[in-house]
């Protein structure tokens, strides 16, 4: 494409197939304690 560069195609829909195992860290545990950001957690589904 001439006018658009796609950086990523989107992973949210694809992640629906995951089981939602909730083994990932809790967003407030690592460093924030006041301003949780969920999107910066790594997925821990093995």
């Amino acid at each position: 494409m001439k006018h658009v560069k796609t950086i990523n195609v989107g992973t949210l829909k694809a992640s629906v197939v995951k089981p939602g195992c909730k083994e990932c860290a809790n967003s407030c545990q690592s460093a924030c304690k006041t301003s949780a950001t969920v999107a910066n957690l790594p997925c821990e589904h093995n």
Binding site: V9, V38, L41
Partner: protein
């Protein structure tokens, strides 16, 4: 809102909210997107005729059509029913263990009233700590990973009990097939060689508090005699980080207030000290507190986040990278949609336990009696209250449903929502604005990294 577009560092960035796709577009596409949903092709050509030729607009619209067809733009939210119909059980898998409701510092912004949480000063006993371990193992169901944050007050004021609790947790995790990961959050004043070694060996993560430059830190992070802590803690924090097993986590974490809105300088100062994992958080205090973040501070704060993002890009080019906690977004991975819609987990996956064994939805709710969920000696929690938290997801927060950032922040901090608006479903507006700016910056950094490949 199906898309979000913004300009940053000379790039036109477009986020497709419901798929998470990210595009960098030229000015023609950027302008076409203002009208794409509501105007016809001919109308858009006409509206933009004074800026672009017919051919340019037609070409741009064709590319937009392609992205729509390929489900990378203007996609629909397909997750709502999945959440509403989710009847799967919840298990508690993270705990903030308030080892000490006491502190040897008197930081001016402390939400925990110098560690006491507006109650009496107290230290957790090993008995309560062990009961808390039993409680979380029993209530963690089939979750394998369990996280426990040793928190306070200052948890190292109760170091002997910490050792006893961890020893107990290690024996219990084996028996029950769990993986318990400990984090400690400390003001670093009590670190010595023995404690540094112990933390390195036993904690998956250590959060070391310092606000940045000496003049900033020592204005706020003070002892009872009013003296600043900077000169004492910086060498100890450096020693802890130097000794740290490189496969394990640490964060050097500070807070900025209305009095140091130039906190880019504090982040840069910490990076100059050689720290690679940095988190500087906005203070959360009631509006009339002179240190609190005001709405009118936002433009300056946004500028600071941009400067931090640019600093990261520049230092990365020089091979001298550092990470800023809130910018650590993985655009090609990250948590699955189930996690993104369910938020921080406070009250149903995550709880805080006081030295007396009382259970609250998180450390920020401690002391608010109406939010007490139970006690570790009873071994169970108030299901009704817990369910209120479980159901406080983005689809039950009208403001979040209008917001492009909902799958990145997941509804924000329930405690802040309650403190500012009296309702966990109503987001804390200043927090939202800062969050959105951080996400924009985080994505812009990723765009810069990706564009190197083009």
């Amino acid at each position: 809102m199906k898309i979000h577009k913004y300009k940053l560092f000379g790039k036109n960035i477009v986020i497709d909210v419901n798929s998470g796709a990210i595009h960098v577009v030229d000015d023609v596409v950027y302008d076409c997107l203002d009208y794409y949903e509501n105007k016809s092709k001919d109308e858009i050509i006409e509206i933009l005729s004074n800026k672009y030729s017919n051919e340019e607009v037609v070409e741009a619209l064709e590319e937009i059509d392609y992205l729509v067809k390929e489900k990378m733009l203007y996609t629909e939210d397909i997750y709502k029913d999945m959440v509403i119909n989710d009847n799967s059980p919840s298990f508690i898998k993270a705990m903030c263990l308030n080892i000490a409701h006491d502190c040897n510092l008197k930081c001016k912004y402390c939400f925990a009233s110098e560690g006491s949480y507006e109650g009496k000063r107290s230290l957790m006993s090993a008995e309560v700590g062990k009961k808390a371990i039993d409680f979380i193992i029993k209530n963690s169901g089939y979750r394998h990973n369990i996280e426990i944050d040793l928190f306070g007050g200052e948890p190292l004021m109760n170091f002997e009990v910490i050792k006893e609790i961890i020893e107990y947790a290690k024996s219990e995790e084996k028996k029950h097939g769990k993986n318990i990961r400990f984090t400690i959050t400390t003001n670093a004043t009590l670190l010595n060689d023995e404690i540094i070694d112990y933390i390195d060996k036993n904690m998956g993560n250590v959060v070391l508090s310092i606000d940045g430059r000496k003049e900033v830190n020592d204005k706020i992070r003070i002892r009872y005699d009013g003296s600043g802590t900077f000169d004492s803690i910086l060498p100890k924090i450096k020693k802890m980080v130097d000794k740290r097993d490189k496969n394990k986590q640490y964060y050097v974490r500070g807070t900025f207030t209305h009095e140091n809105l130039d906190f880019y300088n504090d982040v840069a100062f910490l990076a100059d000290q050689g720290f690679k994992e940095i988190s500087i958080e906005p203070v959360v205090l009631e509006e009339d507190n002179p240190l609190s973040i005001k709405k009118e501070d936002l433009p300056v704060i946004f500028e600071q986040y941009e400067k931090i993002a640019m600093e990261i890009i520049e230092r990365k080019k020089q091979g001298n990278e550092f990470k800023f906690y809130h910018f650590n977004i993985d655009i090609n991975g990250g948590p699955c949609i189930y996690k993104r819609i369910s938020g921080c987990g406070a009250g149903y996956e995550y709880v805080a336990v006081t030295p007396e064994g009382d259970i609250y939805p998180c450390h920020q709710f401690v002391g608010k009696e109406e939010f007490k969920l139970g006690n570790v000696f009873e071994g169970k929690i108030d299901e009704k209250l817990s369910n209120q938290f479980k159901n406080a997801h983005i689809y039950n927060k009208p403001k979040c449903m209008e917001c492009w950032a909902r799958f990145y922040c997941s509804g924000g901090c329930q405690a802040n929502n309650y403190s500012f608006n009296g309702d966990i479903h109503k987001p804390y507006e200043i927090g939202c604005e800062m969050m959105k700016k951080r996400i924009e910056c985080a994505i812009a950094i990723k765009v810069f990294e990706a564009m190197q490949d083009f």
